[in-house]
């Protein structure tokens, strides 16, 4: 499995793109040169210099340090919400697909409700009513992407559950729980793993979008989307202020998308629909 991964060129490129960001996220506080919240009112919107490697923002805060500490909230929200979506969607899809009938109708229609809303609008509405912050963002984005996982799991279960080896497992006296855990789950994982990487990319994008609008991760804590939102007013004065967070954001999303593409090639050569 790992061997197949490393024979895929896209996979290696995506890992090389993502690895530095992961490392910086973990080592962040050790690398920063300044307090990301420290205001230096004399040096506002300064170009890169020896003290401020990438210059300063509109409050004289160090862009480099904010950039580095901005990875964490982004990754926490992206990974947390994807985890939540996977967990909820997987359980809903398993139960709905395996039991069918009333359970299926109840669970799958409940999931469909989320799909009635354009994603960012539902997020905006919840943020408007309940306020923002990392926990709420994880919750909202997690709920938003649950339907995708539920549907993929559901269609996987439907395909697998009528196969002979599940029948034989049941006739040997295996419990429903055992069949779901040992018989079905491992065999429907591939499309879900692909979906995980695509969802992480979407979640990063959504979080950045909300932060850009000023309703995501709350200031003064740094996040890339929010930095881009603030910097857009100073594009002419200080182009490098907007350049770095934009570049980091694009690279992260590109890396995650490429990872998803390569996983699709590796895990499911038959699956060809790129959505």
């Amino acid at each position: 499995m790992l061997k197949r991964c490393f024979r895929n060129r896209t996979f290696i490129i995506s890992i090389l793109m993502l690895l530095p960001f992961m490392l910086i996220a973990i080592l962040g506080p050790l690398i920063v040169t300044h307090d990301p919240l420290a205001i230096d009112s004399v040096n506002i919107l300064k170009p890169p210099s020896r003290t401020y490697i990438l210059g300063t923002d509109e409050f004289g805060r160090d862009i480099f340090s904010r950039l580095i500490l901005g990875i964490r909230p982004t990754l926490i929200v992206a990974l947390g919400s994807t985890g939540l979506a996977f967990f909820l969607g997987f359980i809903i899809g398993l139960l709905a697909g395996y039991y069918g009938g009333v359970v299926e109708q109840l669970l799958m229609r409940m999931v469909d409700i989320v799909l009635c809303f354009p994603p960012i609008l539902l997020a905006l509405m919840i943020v408007a009513f309940w306020g923002s912050g990392i926990v709420i963002l994880i919750f909202i984005i997690g709920i938003l992407y649950t339907p995708h996982f539920a549907r993929i799991t559901y269609s996987g279960v439907i395909q697998v559950k009528t196969l002979a080896y599940i029948e034989s497992e049941r006739s040997l006296g295996a419990s429903s729980f055992r069949i779901l855990k040992r018989g079905i789950s491992p065999n429907i994982m591939s499309p879900l793993i692909i979906q995980v990487s695509l969802t992480i990319a979407s979640a990063i994008l959504l979080e950045a979008g909300l932060s850009f609008l000023g309703v995501g991760i709350l200031p003064p804590a740094p996040s890339w989307g929010q930095m881009i939102g603030a910097a857009k007013g100073y594009v002419m004065l200080s182009p490098n202020y907007i350049f770095w967070p934009s570049l980091c954001l694009c690279l992260t999303i590109l890396g995650t998308n490429l990872l998803g593409d390569s996983l699709r090639d590796i895990l499911d050569p038959k699956l060809n629909n790129e959505t």
């Binding site: 409700i113 009635c116 809303f117 354009p118 994603p119 960012i120 609008l121 905006l124 509405m125 919840i126 943020v127 408007a128 009513f129 309940w130 990319a201 994008l205 959504l206 950045a208 979008g209 850009f212 609008l213 000023g214 309703v215 989307g225 881009i228 939102g229 857009k232 594009v235 002419m236 182009p239 907007i242 934009s246 954001l249 694009c250 999303i253 590109l254 998308n257 490429l258 593409d261 060809n272 629909n273 790129e274 959505t275």
Partner: protein, 314 residues
């Protein structure tokens, strides 16, 4: 077909009803009193003022009664008055929605044309330079957040080259040229990432059909390449392409929120953002409801089109 049509329209109505109820429910289970929050948390609010606003918003009635009144009002397209300036929410929506719809439709049309053409070229020129360039650009395109792309465009085309205005809005009736000049950058920003997804889908869908044996038979029959590609391959490849264009509408509405903010376009989404910052609940409810309904109706339309293209779906 008629049965499918009725079923699909009925489903859309149910979805709209669910949206309606959820918008109501979310407001009422939120922590805190909407009236107090709307009046601002920074100063101590006079209880009498709060009581008056509660009465005005109907928050002093039992919740079920509020719900029924709300449904009745929405059925009459009455979303109440904005808290901040007492203007009926509906008049805001009526004024702003044409702008948002114009932006959305122009973008999806541009995106579809660029996407389908590039995707076809890539599929027909498989593994040649045109294909490699298109697929790499498409991979880049779907990873580019619209607000980053938009800022880049503003920087390059407005500030550096001074070719196009960086945003704002001028009514079509006042000056058509200026009106469209202000739409070029927003539409391009919204359309390009969508075109990337559409191109990817078109490419893989076309390749799938091109690899079928039918195509060889068609060539063997003596049909020209043009006739095979446009008459048969594209037609058969169209279903997934229509689907992805429909799916893009979800992203598109999210995109318009960001684009209107970035380019200072006074559309419906910018009203929504302002309403959120002022905690103007009737206005938030109205905007979300209208935009979600629009989304649901577009999805319905796409499904019906899908049914018309592929009889198996019905």
């Amino acid at each position: 077909m008629i049965r499918f049509l009725i079923k699909r329209i009925f489903l859309a109505l149910i979805q709209i009803f669910i949206v309606l109820s959820l918008v109501f429910l979310l407001l009422h289970i939120m922590p805190g009193d909407p009236a107090v929050l709307a009046l601002g948390t920074d100063r101590t609010v006079d209880p009498q003022v709060v009581e008056a606003l509660r009465h005005e918003l109907g928050l002093d009635k039992p919740i079920l009664e509020q719900y029924l009144i709300y449904i009745k009002n929405v059925a009459n397209l009455n979303f109440g008055n904005s808290i901040t300036d007492k203007v009926p929410v509906m008049s805001y929506i009526a004024e702003r929605i044409p702008r948002t719809i114009e932006l959305a439709f122009l973008s999806i049309i541009v995106a579809s044309i660029i996407g389908v053409v590039l995707g076809m070229v890539a599929a027909l020129e498989r593994k040649k330079a045109a294909d490699i360039i298109t697929t790499s650009l498409a991979a880049l395109g779907i990873s580019l957040p619209v607000f980053v792309l938009g800022t880049l465009f503003i920087y390059v085309f407005s500030f550096s080259l001074r070719l196009l205005p960086a945003g704002g809005f001028i009514a079509l009736s006042k000056n058509a040229g200026a009106h469209y000049a202000r739409l070029v950058l927003p539409v391009a920003t919204l359309a390009l990432p969508m075109a990337a997804s559409i191109a990817r889908m078109t490419r893989s869908s076309m390749l799938e059909v091109l690899n079928k044996e039918v195509v060889q038979t068609l060539y063997a029959k003596g049909l020209s390449r043009q006739k095979v590609v446009f008459g048969h391959v594209l037609r058969n490849a169209m279903i997934p392409i229509v689907t992805i264009i429909g799916l893009q509408f979800g992203n598109l509405i999210g995109g318009t929120v960001l684009i209107e903010y970035l380019f200072n376009l006074p559309g419906l989404c910018s009203v929504l953002l302002k309403a959120i910052s002022y905690r103007d609940y009737p206005l938030i409810q109205g905007c979300i409801f209208v935009m979600s309904s629009f989304y649901i109706l577009v999805n319905m339309f796409v499904d019906i089109l899908y049914g018309a293209l592929d009889p198996r779906v019905r």
